[in-house]
Symmetry: C2
Subunit: 313 residues, 2 copies
């Protein structure tokens, strides 16, 4: 299952509207097929692994990070049927598929065909792996990550706007890696006009994984998809993971609308003093309301900068 | 030496103008005396340990965190003479005393009297232990610690001034512990008028260790020692460790004057948005100037808050 999860990770931020799934086929102690949901959602992980295994899939165990789909879509056959047809002997899954078209039907149909089914193996990791897909299911909108790069005193720029650079090259490279794990990046018009950022992934080997660029703006802009308000993220097609990169006004609008699920805070060991704050009004009316909303889920040093990841508590 | 350092730690923030020293006397593998510099600087660590050991000091090894003083002061005899008179056989020291009245003379006089002398044992820890004393020697002013308690976005209060509470009880208790390790605390007039803070140590057993209270103000104030400008800290008597607790204007004035040696950053996992920034103008004219000034020397979680300690790089 660890291998299946690592394969699933390859699809993070690339498979919407489908979940990013991983699949490993093992027969007689040997891996005979590996698959992961491909960009755009097809082929599915199981289909890829089965194609790789060919006849070797007969009698194999399929480790899958999500229950195989049970519904036939115009885009391809149901993976449950493919697994049955290939003669797989056993399915070990991390979790059930909350999609109402499957939701247990994959397991029950496989069981009825004589396949032994186990589920709940490393479920928590599997749930985190498809957090974008699950957020879309639960909230009807993408998982939204807010990225902030600040000084120790919370500034994102000097008063005159100078912001290059606050964090160092390792932190900036990490931001590019995070970009590659989101289907789209959003900025506001202020940032567009001040910085004209490229928002692409400039990491060797990942250049092709630059996300789509979304602009929060009431007026259209050439080369950009635009949405008029934070709430409109629900309507952006094929985006289950959205990264908000600024500036302060845009970040605050998303926070005020309670639309941020994950904070990426990059902090440099510098003091700026008078400068531009990371946020503006986020709609807080008392300090007590601010508490209990965020929990630290990851932290690491990136050169002399520190990354902290907070998630909705 | 570890025990001697632990004893020296008891005097941090209490011994100015003297360094906080620790001393352990060991004979035949048994501790026969322990001493540390007492509040106000006298008795010295060696005098206390020798008084405790009495005749058992003869032939003992003295572990001291600093070279024994070699000069007779109106406040007491030289520790070197006391060690010679007591018949100590060996001195193991962490470092030499930079005071020009001693500066090697303690070691050489002890050596001339037939005492074996070793120095440089755990010197770096010993230097950190008396950082206040060393800063006074090197810069002619106390070591200055700036304490800031902020939200993740660097705010010290909401826009209307509400600041109770940003950090939790463990972080606040830690601030009180830090207060007890400074001879004085300084605030500005704005904080005095807005918050009338007590600035005392409210920790069981440490109530008596509340530091002196200094006000940065051009006009005197009953119950407070006042200084007119940050530079005037050099003239505060018997303070080798000074803690600056705010507000933003005072903190910025000290940073602008390059008078902060140590930052204590308490950060709560909350976002405030529009609020009062931790700092104002600190005299930065370009971002590049901000880099390389601070290095992280300690970090820990205090409940759900995080403490980071930075020191002058």
């Amino acid at each position: 299952m660890g291998v299946a999860l690592a394969l699933a990770d390859r699809g993070v931020g690339r498979t919407a509207p489908n979940p990013n799934v991983g699949c490993v086929l093992v027969r007689d102690g040997r891996v005979v097929g590996r698959g992961w949901t491909q960009a755009g959602g097809r082929p599915h992980a199981e289909a890829m692994a089965l194609a790789q295994a060919g006849a070797a899939a007969r009698g194999a165990t399929a480790y899958v990070t999500l229950e195989p789909c049970a519904h036939i879509s115009p885009r391809g056959p149901a993976c449950t049927d493919l697994l049955i047809a290939a003669g797989v002997a056993r399915i070990v899954a991390a979790m059930g598929d909350p999609d109402p078209r499957t939701d247990g039907l994959g397991f029950s149909r496989a069981g009825a065909a004589g396949i032994a089914v186990t589920t709940g193996v490393r479920e928590e990791e599997a749930r985190r792996m498809i957090a974008g897909f699950l957020t879309r299911r639960a909230r009807g909108r993408p998982l939204v990550t807010l990225k902030l790069a600040t000084s120790l005193d919370g500034m994102i720029a000097r008063a005159d706007g100078e912001s290059r650079w606050i964090t160092g090259p390792q932190a900036r490279a990490h931001t590019h890696l995070e970009r590659s794990r989101h289907e789209a990046i959003l900025i506001g018009r202020g940032t567009l006009e001040a910085d004209a950022p490229r928002l692409d992934v400039r990491l060797p080997g990942l250049e092709s994984r630059s996300p789509r660029r979304i602009l929060l703006s009431r007026t259209p802009e050439t080369g950009w998809e635009t949405i008029p308000s934070p709430a409109a993220i629900a309507d952006i097609p094929s985006v289950d993971r959205l990264m908000v990169e600024g500036g302060a006004q845009t970040a605050s609008a998303f926070l005020a609308a309670d639309l941020i699920d994950r904070l990426l805070l990059y902090r440099a060991p510098i003091l700026i003093g008078e400068g531009r704050s990371a946020l503006g009004d986020i709609g807080l009316t008392r300090l007590a309301e601010a508490h209990g909303r965020w929990r630290l889920t990851d932290a690491r040093m990136l050169g002399s900068d520190r990354l902290e990841v907070y998630e909705r508590a």
